[in-house]
């Protein structure tokens, strides 16, 4: 397998605040990779660096091509869908318009994509005229995921999908992501506070602390690691 996404010595800062101090990681095509770590470790910023929503230095390559200074719109055009923290839902627009925006960079009819997405989220089809802001938190997270799928991305960046959701919804959400990964070979880079859930779903993981990778390995290796168990899995 070859790496679909490669980060080499990536640094990023918000103004004077240095958040990433040289992150290196690789995401194999067709795999689910989890990024774990405490608050402020730079997990979200890592995703933002990939999608170009934060100024970064170092080398990021997608499918072998360096991203350089490409901004978020340009990265999306390469087939990278980013579901940000807080979902990035257009609350003022309808469900259908949100989905349409998901496929904004695709040309031609999106009807086949919509039907594909509705097969994963059947309830969305009946709500397409509803304003997205009137959906519940869980429904909005599902909509954000659906919006990312409409793009038919090669890489999905998923930031804290479980945040504030009821456990049953979180389970459903992870089930759909794994299903997508199995059915369509979708590659996923997921940031998650809930390490247990993330490692259950992922093939490999990276642990960040203070803007650096401190540990990397397959899910099995990480689940067996004592320090991970103590710090993140709690047993």
């Amino acid at each position: 397998m070859t790496a679909l996404l490669e980060l080499e010595d990536v640094e990023a800062r918000y103004g004077p605040v240095h958040v990433l101090h040289g992150i290196s990681l690789a995401v194999e095509e067709g795999s689910i990779v989890a990024v774990l770590g405490p608050n402020g470790a730079g997990k979200t910023t890592t995703l933002r660096a990939v999608s170009g929503s934060v100024r970064r230095s170092g080398r990021i390559a997608f499918d072998g091509q360096p991203l350089g200074r490409l901004g978020p719109a340009g990265v999306t055009r390469l087939g990278v869908a980013h579901v940000p923290e807080g979902r990035g839902t257009f609350a003022e627009l309808t469900v259908w318009e949100n989905l349409r925006l998901g496929a904004y960079t695709r040309r031609g009819s999106i009807q086949p994509e919509l039907e594909r997405v509705f097969s994963y989220f059947p309830w969305l089809s009946d709500r397409r005229r509803q304003e997205a802001g009137t959906l519940s938190g869980g429904e909005q997270q599902m909509l954000a995921l659906a919006r990312a799928f409409v793009l038919r991305p090669r890489l999905l960046l998923l930031d804290e999908p479980s945040l504030g959701l009821a456990p049953v919804l979180v389970a459903e959400l992870f089930r759909i992501v794994r299903q997508m990964n199995k059915d369509e070979g979708l590659t996923v880079l997921i940031v998650e506070q809930n390490a247990h859930l993330a490692l259950e779903a992922a093939h490999a993981g990276y642990v960040l602390e203070a803007g650096r990778v401190v540990l990397a390995g397959t899910s099995e290796e990480l689940q067996a690691d004592d320090s991970i168990r103590r710090s993140y899995l709690g047993y």
Binding site: Y14, V17, H18, V19, N39, G40, A41, G42, K43, T44, T45, S51, S53, G71, P72, A73, T76, R77, A81, H82, P84, E85, G86, R87, G88, T89, F90, A91, E92, L93, E97, R100, L101, G102, Y104, T105, E131, G133, T134, G137, Q140, R147, L151, L163, G164, A210, G211
Partner: protein
């Protein structure tokens, strides 16, 4: 460092329409419409004033809509919008001087206006937009002064005359003479407003522009080129302004560099009355102000036409004091 990731998470926040006052507003508007209709049937003078008011109101609506388009996308009032409209009216005048027929010049001017709006955004607004709101406002004020200077320099301050687009005839509607001009003004503005609405409502470009206006960061993440959308927004606003300028000129009978200065104040009042972020509000606000001024001046002899502008300012002040979100404004509701 921890502050970066643990900043407030907006996951459970959503903006929703405050529909609380909308039914009341609609009932009030319906009441006003019935009042106008009954008045028109009762008195020919009332009918004449109403039609005149609607026609000038249409001009205010068009310019107000231009202000709202830009305000929604950038949260900045473009103070140069009126002067830009005046400049493009001079462009139409020049094209007619060069021999183009009126409507040929009209459509050519709309195309030129679009390009002009686009170029101004890229060249002057984009460099300062993300620095500060005040810097952007100052640039628009500077643009106001610059355009004024350029027009006076190129065409001079003396009055210019353009051919009348709708002739000097009048319809006779139940004993009320209604100038072709007024009907034409209303029709042209209505057509442009409908086209802009359809663009926003039914096209992918329009959806991208709406997304870029309400959530720029999220729009960029789905691949919308937000900068480009802002530039196109400026182009469209300039086109709506050009329509306002071209329709204002025949009702004022001549063209001068001050063509749009008072109209900008009315348009501003209309936009605020409508809620500043609401395109429908801008249109309703413009018509409301046009008709109110026409009727007040027609029926209240103490308020002469010299007091029109202060009247518009009064409306502005009252709206800002009584209902800052305007007739159709959205109030942000936080759901936690």
């Amino acid at each position: 460092m921890a502050t970066v990731e643990s900043s407030p998470r907006p996951s459970f926040r959503s903006r929703r329409t405050d529909v609380g006052s909308l039914p009341v507003v609609l009932v009030l508007l319906l009441g006003a419409a019935i009042f106008l209709l009954v008045g028109c049937l009762q008195s020919t003078n009332f009918a004449r004033l109403t039609v005149e008011g609607l026609a000038s109101g249409a001009v205010y609506s068009s310019l107000a809509l231009a202000l709202v388009l830009i305000y929604r996308a950038t949260h900045v009032i473009n103070f140069a919008q009126g002067e830009l409209a005046m400049l493009t009216t001079y462009v139409a005048y020049q094209l007619i001087q060069w021999g183009l027929p009126y409507w040929g010049a009209f459509f050519a001017t709309l195309a030129i206006s679009f390009a002009l709006g686009l170029v101004l955004e890229v060249a002057l607004i984009r460099p300062v937009l993300h620095r500060s709101v005040i810097a952007t406002v100052i640039v628009t004020v500077g643009l106001f002064i610059l355009i004024d200077g350029v027009v006076n320099w190129v065409w001079g301050a003396d009055l210019k005359f353009m051919p009348s687009p709708f002739g000097n005839g009048a319809f006779n509607l139940g004993g009320v003479a209604i100038l072709h001009l007024y009907v034409g003004m209303l029709a042209v503005v209505a057509a442009s407003v409908l086209l802009v609405w359809a663009l926003f409502r039914f096209t992918k470009l329009g959806l991208g522009m709406r997304a870029a206006a309400v959530r720029p960061a999220a729009a960029a993440l789905v691949g919308v080129r937000v900068d480009r959308m802002l530039a196109i927004g400026w182009g469209l606003a300039a086109v709506l302004g050009a329509v306002a300028g071209l329709m204002a000129e025949p009702s004022q009978l001549f063209l001068s560099p001050t063509l749009m200065q008072s109209i900008l104040v009315y348009a501003f009042a209309a936009a605020v009355l409508g809620g500043l972020e609401s395109p429908a509000g801008a249109v309703v606000g413009g018509l409301t102000i046009g008709v109110s001024i026409s009727l007040v001046i027609g029926y209240v002899p103490q308020i002469s036409s010299e007091l029109q502008l202060p009247f518009a300012f009064l409306v502005l002040l009252i709206v800002l004091l009584v209902k800052p979100s305007g007739l159709f404004g959205r109030r942000e509701v936080r759901r936690v």
